[in-house]
């Protein structure tokens, strides 16, 4: 974790640790073609999660990973059930989730159910804090989650892997796949990966309630297929295809043939990319299918959303240190949703943007412009400006000051505009203005001590905040104005001595997010109140001790009380959650094995889901992951 934080710092291309190993390996193949988009967000905080952490969460959903490693908050409906995010005091619609650079928030609801994204579904993850509309586009108001798949051209040959986790409550997860890389001719290189994964959360709790709070009987089945293929030649041309198919099937109260509810979500994500001469062309097809049924599952309410998108980007250096990226994106949406009254909704959206980045000896500055277009309304112009300056650059440590300001927006979701009776076709896009400033410091010496810390403060005002107005039977209106401000601190320390290593990573966030506009007589009771499900304080801590290949990790998460009503008269109580993980790995000929034992909710804490039913108590999981490399010369 700690190493990843340091390596992922500005100025360095995306880096990752070799899976489970210690030595950093630069995945330079893709990044030499241009900066990753978030590199144009000078002055803003980007947190890459290292591969050792990703490996620890290999069988879990993105919810668990992010909750324990970032200040992102989740409205969690229970294990295997809907989990939506609140980032920096914003709502679930205000975090963009990008898969290989493309927003995959479901267009109907404008959000991502994080329980449907397993950590097994991507190779790299970073979290970008704060508004980033100029670079990311719509939805990036509170922040963005950036998921990526990456090729590995270095490792010739074929590597198979397979793993299984068995947990309490008859819960299990499995995955299997292969990575392959080779040179079919003198001119060409190929790299690819195929993965299938599946999980079955049966949640057979040995108890039906905890301290008088019920557990919800639910079952979730999840399946997925990933296929990545990259082909490049000596001239630097690269073709790639990325496909990700997912199927998430949740049944609540499965034993009750009348009251049971089934929510099935399927996603088809297919993208082709061509890169050459600093030009990137992408085309993608995204399909989201949502079926909901109660009692009788044979005739579900059906929603189908298709999106075709294409994007062309060109990047060039204008002068030493200064680069410009200009791009255009166009998307066509076609949806058929029962809730829209049977009508097929089609719309087009487009974006034009220009991003610049200047890197001087001590300066890093970026200035970006974006204009979005969409059928039926006018998206606001969203510029941003950010900079970083190295205040102190010693041989042993560095101190950098950061700052940025930018506008953001969110295109109204299809539900918000087209849902029968409640939707409002005349909605305006929300508009935000985000400003932030921070300091970051880190040591630059090698072992034994490595330290890093960062302090950020932000202020984000969102006007025309869209609101399913409960006083008007949940009709959608641009009623509110939300002011979110906060402070984030994180720090990490690693100490290495011989075969031993110990590390600590801590993060704290203070988030004050309030509704500011009086729009009716009862809004008096709501003005100035903290937004629901946003705790004022949240903290997480992860500590490990490691000897050779064996590592013991403690993860802790603390959330103070979360109000559940707009006037703050009711709240879910505060809780602290602690997990303990022990993992080790070994090598036997061409086989590498990794085994992990974990205890979740070590202290058997009672905490509640959004429906105020109990979350599970202490539980256990044991997992195994095997890798076989068929190339005898390869070093795993």
């Amino acid at each position: 974790m700690v190493a990843g934080l340091c390596l992922g710092w500005m100025g360095v291309s995306y880096s990752a640790l070799a899976q489970g190993g210690q030595e950093p390996v630069s995945l330079s193949v893709v990044t030499v073609r241009g900066y990753a988009a978030e590199r144009f967000l000078a002055g803003q905080k980007v947190q890459p999660l290292d591969s050792a952490t990703l490996a620890q969460f290999r069988y879990q959903s993105l919810t668990d990973l992010l909750a324990l490693n970032t200040p992102m908050l989740f409205k969690n409906y229970g294990p295997g059930q809907l989990a939506t995010v609140s980032f920096r005091g914003t709502s679930a619609n205000h975090t963009a989730v990008l898969w290989n650079g493309v927003n995959i928030n479901q267009p109907m609801t404008g959000l991502t159910d994080f329980s449907t994204i397993p950590v097994a579904g991507f190779d790299q993850l970073s979290v970008q804090y704060g508004s980033a509309a100029s670079v990311v586009g719509s939805d990036a108001v509170g922040g963005s989650v950036l998921l990526k798949t990456t090729p590995d051209f270095r490792q010739n040959g074929l590597t198979f892997f397979a793993g299984h986790q068995q947990g309490s409550f008859l819960n299990r997860q499995s995955q299997a796949g292969a990575r392959y890389s080779g040179r079919p001719g003198n001119q060409w290189q190929v790299s690819g990966k195929t993965v299938i994964y599946g999980s079955q959360l049966t949640n057979r709790y040995p108890y039906s309630e905890r301290k008088y709070y019920y557990l919800e009987p639910t079952e979730t089945r999840q399946r997925g297929l990933l296929q990545d293929l990259y082909v490049r030649n000596r001239q630097g041309r690269q073709f790639s295809v990325n496909a990700w198919l997912t199927d998430n099937d949740l049944v609540q109260a499965p034993a009750d043939s009348i009251g049971r509810e089934r929510t099935r979500t399927q996603n088809y994500r297919l993208m082709g990319t061509y890169e050459a001469n600093h030009t990137t062309v992408r085309a993608g097809w995204f399909r989201d299918v949502l079926d909901y049924a109660k009692g009788d599952f044979t005739h579900p309410s059906h929603s189908l959303m298709d999106r075709l998108m294409t994007r062309v980007e060109h990047e060039r250096g204008l002068m030493p240190g200064l680069s410009l990226r200009a791009g255009a994106e166009a998307s066509h949406y076609r949806t058929q949703v029962d809730g829209y009254g049977g009508q097929v909704i089609q719309e087009n959206r487009a974006d034009l943007y220009a991003l610049t980045r200047y890197q001087g000896p001590r300066w890093l500055v970026s200035a970006n412009l974006r204009q979005g277009f969409a059928t039926g309304y006018r998206a606001p112009f969203t510029p941003s400006l950010g900079g970083e300056y190295q205040l102190i650059r010693q041989t042993t440590w560095q101190l950098t000051a950061k700052g940025s300001v930018g506008r953001s927006y969110r295109v109204p979701t299809l539900n918000e505009r087209y849902w029968i009776n409640l939707g409002n076709p005349d909605l305006k896009p929300e508009q935000g203005l985000n400003a932030e400033a921070g300091l970051s410091a880190r040591t630059t010496t090698a072992k034994p001590w490595q330290l890093a810390t960062e302090l950020t403060t932000y202020r984000n005002r969102v006007k025309d905040w869209t609101y399913w107005n409960p006083t008007r039977n949940y009709r959608v209106e641009n009623l509110q104005e939300v002011l979110a401000r906060g402070v984030e601190w994180n720090g990490s320390a690693t100490y290495t001595q011989g075969h031993w290593q110990a590390g600590l990573r801590a993060a704290y966030a203070w988030t004050r997010s309030t509704q500011e506009r009086v729009y009716d007589v009862y809004a008096q009771d709501v003005v100035g109140k903290q937004l629901v499900y946003v705790p004022l304080h949240t903290a997480n801590l992860s500590a490990f001790i490691k000897r050779r290949q064996t590592r013991l990790t403690v993860q802790t998460l603390l959330n103070t009380k979360q109000y559940i009503t707009f006037d703050n008269i009711q709240a879910l109580p505060a809780y602290t959650l602690t997990n303990l993980l022990l993992n080790t790995q070994w090598q036997w000929k061409a086989v590498r094995g990794q085994v992990q034992a974990q205890i979740n909710n070590v202290f058997d804490v009672l905490y509640l889901n959004v429906r105020r039913n109990a979350m599970p108590g202490r539980n256990y999981a044991l997992s195994l992951f095997l890798t076989v490399n068929t190339n005898k010369n390869a070093k795993l």
Partner: protein, 361 residues
């Protein structure tokens, strides 16, 4: 008196053994008003607030204050039976509904009734000593498929001696409102297809008759002349409880799209109050409060008593004051507005989420 004997003994013991006394259990909720806050269905955050008749501020979530745990669903009903309170709790997940039985004067939990005895509990009434009826819809299905209300619903018979459900009486679809008259309970329904009113003999715990009376029949009171009043669609129906004959169907105003949605009767059981409600073009609930006498041949809706919509209307049997509940939304506290029977506003008290009824004690 059991209590004073205990106190005397305790006092003696205290003298002898340096104050081992225990104060008598305080009874903070002996009398006053309980506000039943339905909560927001998906959040399972129903509560009961307590309001004394002389106070203008409510005490919130008294079940949680006493028992240090919250109710786990919406509060759909409450009544008291011989010193015990029965709180109907409706959880948004099937199979998790329950009835909390508490000591009515302290609110301490005594017992909990659960699934499969209790499923979608709607209303509870006392029918005899230590005996209550709870109307239950049973498990609800898919609303859009028309299977939301199970056919039939049932009445859970509760023995407050053992705190157990002793019988489930098959009722009618979506059975909900109940009124006791003599040895019979009149049971209405929320389902507008059947138009049925069922009659239950409480000595046998059986449905003896099913009468077709009209849309969504809601029996709500027995008047001073022992007649049963039922609100149904836009009509008020007066029924002879002996013969079951409908004596009168009185239109509650001339506009059939505006229907009585909340009802109550005066302490002398001679005046009926109701909220006549409708939705405006912006999906807001609108309405006014009207009244009429039990012998009136027509109901005038020219001049409301209170020109305001309430989600429920309750008449204090001690004072005759009207308690209307106002719900701004399911996401913030509602209010209870108190009026004299003339319609003069007394005050307004902030309640909790979605106050949907008031219990007077």
């Amino acid at each position: 008196m059991q209590n004073s004997k205990f106190l005397l003994l305790a006092g003696l013991a205290g003298l002898l053994a340096s104050c081992q006394t225990k104060d008598p259990e305080p009874t903070p909720y002996e009398s006053g008003i309980l506000i039943l806050n339905e909560g927001n269905f998906s959040q399972n955050n129903g509560t009961i607030s307590y309001l004394s008749r002389t106070s203008t501020a409510a005490k919130y979530d008294i079940f949680n204050q006493v028992n240090t745990r919250s109710l786990k669903g919406g509060v759909s009903g409450y009544t008291e039976v011989d010193g015990k309170g029965l709180i109907l709790v409706d959880n948004s997940t099937a199979g998790l509904d329950q009835v909390e039985i508490v000591d009515a004067s302290t609110f301490k939990s005594i017992a909990t009734l659960k699934t499969p005895d209790i499923e979608n509990p709607r209303q509870v009434i006392r029918v005899a000593a230590n005996k209550a009826y709870i109307s239950c819809w049973d498990v609800s299905g898919d609303f859009s498929a028309g299977t939301f209300y199970k056919e039939p619903g049932y009445i859970a018979v509760v023995d407050l001696g053992s705190n157990k459900v002793t019988k489930k009486i098959p009722g009618i679809r979506a059975n909900e409102w109940m009124v006791l008259a003599g040895n019979e309970v009149f049971l209405g329904s929320r389902y507008n297809g059947d138009k049925l009113l069922a009659v239950i003999d409480i000595t046998k715990d059986e449905v003896t008759q099913k009468l077709t009376v009209g849309t969504n029949p809601r029996p709500f009171a027995v008047d001073a002349n022992s007649r049963l009043w039922i609100s149904s669609g836009s009509e008020m129906i007066r029924m002879n409880t002996q013969t079951k004959a409908i004596e009168a169907r009185i239109a509650a105003g001339s506009d059939a799209t505006k229907t009585p949605s909340a009802v109550g009767i005066s302490p002398d059981k001679r005046t009926i109050y109701f909220v006549r409600s409708y939705y405006d073009a912006n999906y807001n609930s609108k309405g006014e409060v009207y009244s009429f006498g039990i012998s009136d041949a027509t109901i005038s809706t020219t001049k409301p008593i209170v020109n305001r919509y309430f989600s429920s209307l309750n008449v204090d049997p001690q004072t005759g004051n009207l308690y209307g509940t106002a719900v701004p939304s399911f996401g913030q506290a509602g209010y209870v507005l108190r009026y004299q029977s003339t319609g003069a506003l007394i005050d307004s008290v902030k309640a909790e989420i979605s106050p949907a009824g008031v219990f007077f004690k």
